[in-house]
Symmetry: C2
Subunit: 134 residues, 2 copies
Amino acid sequence: MNIGDIARITKLPAKTIRYYEDIGLVNPARDDNAYRRFNDSDVHKLGFIGRARSLGFTIEDCRALLALYEDKDRASADVKQIAQHHLALIDVKIAELKAMRTALGHLSESCAGDHRPDCPILEGLSVSSQTKSG
Amino acid sequence: MNIGDIARITKLPAKTIRYYEDIGLVNPARDDNAYRRFNDSDVHKLGFIGRARSLGFTIEDCRALLALYEDKDRASADVKQIAQHHLALIDVKIAELKAMRTALGHLSESCAGDHRPDCPILEGLSVSSQTKSG
DNA sequence: ATAGGGGTTCCTGTAACTGGAAGGTCAAGA
DNA sequence: TCTTGACCTTCCAGTTACAGGAACCCCTAT
């Protein structure tokens, strides 16, 4: 199967699949015309990577997870450690975004959003609010 | 004041301040020795940018917000529109991260995380779960 | 003179691709 | 046979918002 077929199956852009080959995540065979030829194992690998990426794992995480997947003697603890670390990062990001959301939400709510120039959002951005201690 | 002083005041790295000058967000004067010389207006601008960045606004958003700040005839609606758009992006990101968190949380919970090789996390990544329709 | 702690520019690298140019390949149709 | 169109190839540049580091200049104190 050619790259276009694989793109349809895995729902990864062909560009992305070429990139994954570039960085050594997959290693499809080549036909005489230099076209990449993918087998079932390649498809499975790319699916695996796609799903890991959609869970937010970095490319290097994906590489590590793939290696663990292919090591039938791995300890599940090794996999879980990667997952837990990633979960912690996700939690941090969620917390940061929620803090932004709250702060900006307050500013935005207090802004009339009309034709007048008075704008609490700009005022809020223009002063260093030192609500904490003094 | 030199760049180091401004870095301390605004809590932005000197590298970042130079970068902001590169892309035209600020335009400090220069001394004879080529050192950047910042005035109060520069400091205020950088503080403004820093606070906007900490709320997650992109650099281009910051540029637009600064322009609006300096346009005393702006309509607050223009500012609010940028803020609301950004809030919507934040909400999308939070939702995405929460979905990841949930999915990965389930996988991770079901993994023993011990010396044995059996790992629901890897199994989950290796199959395309088609829970939705058929 | 020297040491240190500033400052300067310029180049490279980051993450994970995406877009586009220039060109080869293949199957179908006139 | 020629052409059209959809494939495929490689390679280079751009994205975001900086950070790291090299090579070098400036200033002050000792």
